[in-house]
Point group: C2
DNA sequence: GTTATCATTTCTGTATACAATCTTGTTGTT
DNA sequence: AACAACAAGATTGTATACAGAAATGATAAC
């Protein structure tokens, strides 16, 4: 693996995990020493992360981890609505229906587990990742997949900022299951609308969680 | 301006203009000498273009100008449908209506000119660019704007491959005018649906033009 | 006490040298 | 004649050195 790839992956992971919080200024020399790569591949990683929207290139003065606010979360959901409704529609038209029928069963089986705390949450996230992969495969559109993957990185960062409780995860699982069902039966309109509903509710849940989290952080600062 | 920016811009322009046709292999040394920059900023430009989807990084063996086929055009339109319908919807909710009323007048005045050949086509493209800028300003979503700008670069490349005739441009102008009208009156649903209609028809027109163009190229090869 | 200017220092941007990997062509063997 | 192995060449990836720009802090003048 290339040094630039390692630097990119490490920094992305740390940003998504919140270990490098929003606003953190990253110097080239500093980070190249920390990550054990020279400045050239590190700059390559920086550039990719700027293109991804994870870093902002603060006019000449270093790069900064991009802000995460209620506004940016809303912006993210607005893009998700456009892209994921379309993706669901296309998936319903093109997907291997058997695969989505199996996925439906997996959601069904997972429900009881999801309410069971930490492990349940992991099962939920793994199942969601599986759903995302199935969508990517189904839509047969590399360009859209690239765009979706970037959106998901941002979403992962948002989720880390404010993990949901089991009850909310179960809600999300039920909503997603309906999307899976629509795709499994080739109902494109339902797939799109169910995605819309899911994103609307998810936006509410995430906003509430982020609001709490941001309030907590502000309290700590004060 | 930085050397890496110049290299990026020059290469992007050349790819969009078709001067660097699909499939062209670009060597680092070769291109850095041609563009008068060293390999470091050139690699930066290459990486950005790969991220944009304009170049493909052919496993170790140089970068290649990405292919443009009927399939990739369709993929592009599928992403456009998702993003631009959403953008139109948001613009209808948030835009400065006066600005779009003025834009509507400009479309109205341009119609007679568009049928007038070369100059008319330029007027059409300038007006379209103005429309795009107005959308970007209206939606107030930097993340979505970034994504839209990339899509537009790809579309510019497609258009260069197969320029339309005046009659088709007029059709497109009328369709776009309806979108402008919907935004000017705050009709989000109409804005989204008019965008859908426009993209559907535009896809047909562009596909036909690209098909002709590709046939011509194949003839030349044979 | 405040402000402006200049020097110091740090950081970014670019060029280039070096190392490692992958291609390709040639030669030898079956 | 076909295939494999090896060597020569080219090309990518990384490190580092150098130049130029920008920020910071100090000093002096008002």
């Amino acid at each position: 693996m290339r040094a630039s790839d390692r630097a990119y992956r490490k920094l992305l992971d740390e940003i998504v995990a919140g270990e490098l919080p929003a606003g953190t200024v990253l110097g080239e020399v500093e980070q190249s020493e920390r990550l054990g790569v020279s400045r050239t591949p590190l700059r390559e990683a920086f550039n990719r992360l700027v293109a991804d929207g994870m870093l902002d290139s603060e006019s000449g003065r270093g790069v900064v981890v991009s802000q995460l606010s209620l506004e940016t979360v809303t912006e993210l959901y607005e893009v998700r609505e456009g892209l994921e409704e379309q993706a669901a529609r296309l998936a319903a038209q093109r997907a291997d229906r058997e695969l989505f029928k199996k996925l439906w069963d997996e959601f069904e089986n997972s429900k009881s587990l999801i309410l069971g705390g930490e492990i349940g949450a992991n099962i939920f996230y793994e199942l969601n990742a599986k759903f995302d992969d199935a969508i990517d495969e189904a839509i047969q559109n590399p360009y859209m997949v690239t765009t979706l993957k970037n959106v998901r990185n941002h979403m992962a960062r948002v989720r880390k900022l404010a993990r949901s409780n089991p009850a909310r995860l179960l809600e999300a699982a039920n909503e997603t299951q309906l999307i899976v069902e629509a795709i499994a039966t080739g109902d494109a309109a339902l797939a799109a609308h169910a995605t819309h509903v899911h994103l609307h509710k998810s936006h509410s849940r995430v906003s509430a969680a982020v609001r709490e989290q941001l309030a907590k952080i502000n309290k700590e600062v004060a």
